[in-house]
Symmetry: D2
Subunit: 144 residues, 4 copies
């Protein structure tokens, strides 16, 4: 069972992650070290060529990793990204984007995982981007 | 001499990069394959701990690389990021961020460069993040 | 069915990849866009602490990606790595290492995939390293 | 002044880094957080097309980072790479390769830097590869 709920994450975002709130990120599923998050369609995220901009995709992936990490360690808001590597694989459609996130390693101090991003409805075409990311977990976290 | 001006880039952003306009990115300097861009302070970009969020830094770096590429190849709006790797090195202050961008290679089809990001006024403390990125340049570009 | 056999790859290595021959890489399985390759135990690859050195792991991952790419496009020896990103996740044991490789995207010009590396016999402990890599495929390849 | 000499590093390599000894890496210069290392020409490192193989370049970069880290923290053999990202930029000539290494950040626990690799004698053509790497520094190190 995940150690945090979608509602708790939305609450964190409203209180202290205005970025995530502004982007309108949604949590479609949350597991143990896995999640699916979603970026709704918005004209604000488009770039020349009518596709979703790279920064919007990277933001979504970073948010998904945050959710996946908290799904294992609970409400540790201060977990921070130390590395994010994004490969853009194909041009996304100008619609919603979904991101499937999965932790590959969870240590005491570091979490590492991967995120596959898809244009919603076009999952069969393969991912539009693939991200790996490392999160640093603060040592003083509540072990409860 | 750069092959594009800051004014022309602002124009592209207003017309077809609403993201950059929304972020309020500024171009402080533009050279030949180099530039300094700036993210003004905004509460929207903060994250728990009162620092600038990772996605805001990655967005700024991606924008800076776009400007650096266009400074060499001119108005080729369809240049797109294929890879962006960001290492977060220290916690930024909750103020403005500047990014110094430099192309390392410009080929016919690919551009590669690096970006060092600093908390404005704290440059002496060293970069808050370091990014490398690859841009793909469309083959059909106007050689003018 | 893969478009190349392990025997053909060993032949390429003997003729023109002395590196792979010197490392003693083995191909355990080869599928369509997937493979499992193996680095046998050798004292030459150790580093302080008695573990397998990072370069040996990266070499194995690069070799595995080469095999995975050729399993889809056939004997195109000139396919070359353009990016390799390696995250080292835990200390490998001083024994053999296996690498599971999987193409995530195969385009006309680029292939992208991921590799998970394990200490042989300790797969249940999770990967010792995780790699993503991009290969460039030469345009003039024989389409046969 | 560097906190380690080239001779001391060669000694470490002979005792516990057979890999580096086997590759024949040389230290051309060592500063404080910087160094230039060199991979001599050898047919063993070639790949199809007659160029130096990617793994040989990544090995050299990893070695250079190790030297650059030890130039600042002294003889801490157990410093280990946690991430290495390599972008291959142009085909190296089949000769010697030199690598210029520079630490960008040295913290208590992590070091981060970049490496530019050149075909010896062709430095003016620009780098053949560019690497960023993170090293983890063991907490129990002798502070002397």
């Amino acid at each position: 069972m995940p150690r945090i709920t979608a509602q708790e994450i939305y609450q964190i975002c409203e209180q202290s992650l205005p970025w995530a709130a502004m982007m309108g990120f949604e949590i479609a599923e949350i597991g143990e070290g896995t999640c699916r998050v979603r970026l709704p369609r918005s004209d604000r995220f488009l770039r020349p060529g009518g596709t979703v901009s790279g920064p919007a995709l990277m933001s979504l992936a970073d948010y998904g990793m945050y959710v996946a990490v908290l799904s294992r360690i609970g409400r540790v808001e201060m977990a921070v990204t130390t590395n994010l590597n994004c490969n853009f694989l194909r041009r996304p459609k100008p619609g919603a984007v979904i991101a499937d996130c999965r932790l590959i390693k969870l240590g005491k101090r570091l979490a590492y995982g991967e995120v596959s991003l898809y244009s919603e409805g076009d999952e069969a075409d393969g991912p539009v981007a693939h991200v790996t990311a490392t999160y640093s977990i603060p040592p003083e976290r509540d072990e409860g």
